[in-house]
Symmetry: C2
Subunit: 366 residues, 2 copies
């Protein structure tokens, strides 16, 4: 694995849209007992269901810490590849590489990772193993990488259409725990170089009380170029209402990199989800790790889904809107099979299906 | 990775000769301080030199424990792939998969590994991580495997010509620490099934005082079908003399699976190599691990070389016979570049270049 000194833009590499063809999907096995209740056993079952659902459409690789290797290898079906990889937690979207391609070769962008805010408001300490994950994935795939030692970013805080457009949130990218030494223009210039985008759309906030400082991937997702699925609520009493209205109003006025207006499809949120007393009791209390307290509101959103080759895997919350979300997704992705996976256990750990997955684009050489 | 219930023979898979084309070479990074002196730092330098030499000819993957990952990644050149893999020690020949192929697909034979003798005369305890290595390598390469839970074997104890012939030693395969419940015929029948060979040649012993119970790969190597390079000494006072004479006399009378007699080329051994006081002092003393004592004779042999695509990488001992070995190898491998690597540090750990490498055959699909 070469560590390149150039940038994807200069080398003619771009980040494809998630809806473009994949070589496969990467995940990390959950295990830390101070984030996942009951020794992560319920979360491991949920991750297994997600991996199984995605593996119906494309190859899945699960990265597993040495301690959990045997258990993961036995819980996961044989068609899922299991590789040993140390980690601090299980969010491959955020610590994994952002793959870029020129159509013939893939490379990884290996951002600096600091657990969503480092010593300012990071969610656990340390995060050194997570920060190595992107490089290890690239090395394993024989892909060269661009390594940004001084620029913090998570894959869940960016969404691209693969045609020059990027959507981010100010809440996240301008947060004091990431790159406080850089202003908005300086951050934009890094994003233009490393994602090879031309038009960057800033929304103010992500989902209410999202512990990632409002990752865009919990708020919306591209269904394709020019088409955005936006999390939505009609409840004016909910703080989320204002956030959704603002995002809609900006997106309605914006144009993408090709000058197109956006088609915006609303994806109704589930009713508020809160941690129960029993769920909270199953989580180890560790200083330096975000506690999981009974009554805490979780940032549940159907927008946090994964687009696979010929499929869409989205979270179910056992909510009346589950069925509505499925209908919206089926309409938005006419060529794909839409599969729901009950995701409460993933949500309890602070994210959802999109957060725990990372696509690897397909290129002609494989 | 599927674990297959059939056998390579039944499925039409065979183990190719090492001289056939490779997809690449696998190694493990040394680190245990009770086997490698001075915290394994000198050994790590030697392994790096071997990896660099082989990587001139074919891709090399180095498997590294989490604790040594950063150091290995920085010591090794960028063109060598580094993947995280727990291990007990660094002998990929012996704990890695024995790859078999039908020309289109590769599969791994995942023998049971017990550190060269288990509780009878094994060299360290435990060996559980080493026993997982073959399966992890197969999974990583998306290769299915045959897993033998009840049959102990190391890759260094077998040599094949890829055309139905296998050479082994009685000292090793009939040792009490491996498969004492099986007699010679039963062992032969396992080897026939899993290596897909028809003719098995038993030599009595390997190199004198070889701690592996006389692995054949330290005594001889195939240069090609029908051509064997045999370690040799002219010193009648050396216990090794009798061993070489016996091996020669058997090989001279034998025929290979195709009915051919063997061409036998002698490869003069270096002068006896013994552990120095200073070398011994650098090794941690741990109960259950073979001690490295000053004055111990080491099983130095030029036969312990690796055949790469277009190359041969062989051990140097700073001995007058180094140059003679090079000449013999150049003559035996006319199409390949013969590269020597100073290997005393590998030898101090109990093996040599062939022991720390494992080839992956090239197949049409990669």
């Amino acid at each position: 694995m070469k560590t390149l000194q150039s940038t994807p833009r200069r080398d003619g590499f771009r980040m494809p849209g998630e809806f473009e063809p994949h070589r496969g999907c990467w995940m990390i096995w959950p295990q830390r007992p101070d984030n996942w209740r009951f020794g992560a056993k319920p979360a491991q079952e949920a991750f297994t269901e997600v991996a199984k659902a995605i593996s119906r459409f494309e190859p899945v690789t699960m990265c597993v810490d040495r301690q959990q290797y045997d258990n993961a290898r036995q819980m996961l079906p044989e068609n899922i590849r299991v590789v040993e990889m140390s980690n601090n937690d299980a969010w491959m979207r955020d610590c994994g590489p952002t793959f870029v391609t020129n159509g013939k070769e893939i490379r990884g962008v290996d951002w600096s990772f600091n657990a969503w805010g480092g010593l300012v408001d990071g969610l656990y300490f340390p995060w050194d193993e997570d920060d190595r994950v992107a490089g290890k994935v690239c090395d394993l795939e024989r892909a060269d990488r661009y390594r940004l030692r001084d620029f913090v970013l998570e894959g869940g805080s960016i969404h691209v259409d693969g045609q020059g457009t990027l959507i981010v949130t100010e809440e996240c990218l301008l947060s004091p725990g990431r790159n406080p030494q850089l202003n908005r223009e300086q951050i934009e210039s890094v994003l233009r170089e490393y994602l090879n985008v031309d038009r960057i759309i800033w929304l103010p906030k992500g989902i209410y009380q999202d512990e990632t400082n409002g990752h865009v991937d919990n708020l919306l997702q591209f269904a394709g170029p020019g088409h955005v699925l936006l999390a939505w609520t009609q409840d004016r009493a909910d703080p989320q209402y204002e956030i959704c209205q603002e995002a809609l109003s900006i997106l309605e006025k914006e144009r993408d990199a090709k000058g197109r207006p956006f088609t915006i499809t609303k994806l109704l949120l589930p009713a508020n989800v809160r941690i129960t007393k029993e769920e909270s009791r199953g989580v180890d209390r560790v200083e330096g790790t975000l506690p999981r307290q009974a009554g805490d509101r979780l940032a549940a959103s159907y927008a946090n889904f994964y687009i696979a080759n010929g499929g869409v895997v989205f979270p179910l919350f056992n909510d009346p809107n589950d069925e509505k979300a499925k209908e919206v997704l089926e309409k938005a992705f006419p060529g794909r099979e839409v599969v729901g996976v009950y995701a409460r256990e993933i949500l309890l750990g602070g994210g959802n299906i999109h957060c725990i997955t990372q696509q690897q684009p397909l290129v002609s050489q494989g």
